[in-house]
Amino acid sequence: MPIPNINVSIGKIVLNNPLVLASGVMGTSPTLLERIALAGAGAVTAKSCGPEPRVGHPNPVMAEWEHGLINAIGLTNPGVEEEVHLIKEAHEKLSPLKTPLIASIFAGTVEAFGQVARAISVVEPDMIEVNISCPNVQDDFGLPFAADWRSAADVTRSVKQAVGDIPITVKLAPNVPDIGRIARAVVEAGANAITAINTMPGMLINADASRPVLFNCSGGISGPALKPIALHCIAEIAQAVEVPIIGTGGVLTGRDAIEMMMAGATAVGVGSALWYRGPDAFELIKAEMIAFLEQHKYRSVGEIIGKAHKA
């Protein structure tokens, strides 16, 4: 039997494998994005960038706990003016590798989202991720736009208008009562894809110190503990809308990636796995996916997308 085909497409963008570097994880510079592309990612997402430079939160910004990671980096980024150059540079590095580049943006108002999107669109990333769901900047920006379907749709429209032909994916938050409703709203407002999910708000307390571990007190949970939450969200979204989903949250192994796709994801975000599996995470996960597909006699990874809902 031939090796199973693991190409997938998100709209017109073709990925030679379904694994997408998740935003904010390692990919903060053109050289780091290039590194991850060389390490076997099907696509890479840049760190989210906003209207102005942000240094982010003081340390500690991250810690491992028994069942996952938690971070409150605080959207450290150089601001869109500088980011435009970085995306351009990254694009030049990735083009010869044929690795699609997804830019990621955030902002504090609907209008600012449009402005950041317009600025980024000039350097033509393959896709723009609209991060309306970072849990770590509530003190600066208030509730994430992902909290409500109306505001989520407003941001989507504003970005969509600003970016012309460039497809957009909207990144949703897990801490909502009805993620399917929000997905529907952003798709109606023009989203070409959905990235689900961002981290889940959480807190670690160190009992000996009688203190939250993170300087920001709360942070976003990623890694293994997030996986079933992500699967639930992806399943809800897959049943609510037709657009491709970049299923993200707690994928460490090929089996995890397969589960995400069975829940309805077309591509699979990979972030924390770079800690748990090391620098070869992408190649390891890919090899495990192929082994699973071979064992179960699938000819292409496309056959499993949404399969958990079909049986």
Binding site: M26, G27, T28, S29, E34, P60, E64, F215, W275
Partner: protein, 247 residues
């Protein structure tokens, strides 16, 4: 769970000079020479420190700013929180080792020297600093029976000038299999050039601004402009802090 914080009690404090303290913590740490830890002081902050001794677990702290000075205010019996060991350390390659330290760069070289001693290897140590006082722990190497050459910026001890000059001399005088170094970026960049010229294998422990310490936030990238031999997108906390170059 190397990425979580564990509490450790301070067991001994030994002042090396006016601004530098050797901090001995309870227990040992399961680490390789050259690995580092993140130290968290609740309410104050969190910063990376080299493991200056593995058993007992010790740190060498130079008071230069708010966090390091807070560490130096600790008393025996106080607690600190440790995340680690993190990163990748030195691997003891070759028979004749040249160890080069600048400032607190001595710290990770001490457990390396101990490991070399255990393997009966030949070791020469070159240490550089601003002045006589700030040469850190030459006796730690001397006590292992290794020769230590020193330079200071002001000539107050050893040769006057940069540590690179005695390294050049040493390379002229004898053959070495590997050069191990830790210190300021400028020193490492200069040493990388020297090693390149001599086609000498090297292992440098790089420093960089660390935030997550886990390889995810991207803050500690060391660019190829510092050393063209570094791979693209090299992260000090994740791929390093030690970078190994074999020609």
């Amino acid at each position: 769970m190397r990425g979580g914080f564990e509490i450790r009690q301070v067991q001994k404090l030994f002042w090396v000079n006016q601004t530098t303290c050797w901090l001995s913590l309870e227990g040992s740490i399961d680490a390789q020479p050259g690995q580092f830890v993140m130290i968290w002081l609740p309410g104050i902050g969190e910063k990376p420190f080299s493991i200056a001794s593995i058993d007992p677990f010790c740190l060498l702290v130079v008071g230069v700013g708010p966090f390091s000075r807070a560490l130096l205010k600790l008393s025996v019996g106080d607690f600190i929180w440790v995340k680690g060991p993190l990163g990748h350390g030195f691997s003891v390659d070759g028979q004749r080792l040249l160890l080069v330290g600048g400032g607190y760069g001595s710290a990770p070289l001490i457990p390396l020297a101990k490991a070399a001693k255990a393997q009966n290897l030949q070791v020469l140590v070159c240490l550089g600093a601003q002045n006589s006082d700030s040469i850190l722990l030459p006796e730690a190497f001397e006590n292992l029976g290794f020769q230590v050459s020193v330079t200071t910026d002001d000539g107050s001890r050893g040769q006057k000038g940069l540590v690179t000059s005695i390294v050049e001399q040493a390379l002229q005088e004898s053959d070495f299999d590997t050069l191990f170094a830790c210190g300021p970026v400028g020193m490492l960049t200069a040493l990388a050039k020297i090693c390149c010229e001599h086609q000498l294998d090297y292992q440098f422990s790089w420093e960089a601004h660390m935030r997550c310490g886990l390889g995810l936030c991207g803050s500690c990238e060391v660019p190829q402009t510092f050393d063209p031999s570094l791979p693209v997108g090299w992260l000090a906390c994740y791929d390093g802090p030690v970078f190994c170059k074999r020609w």
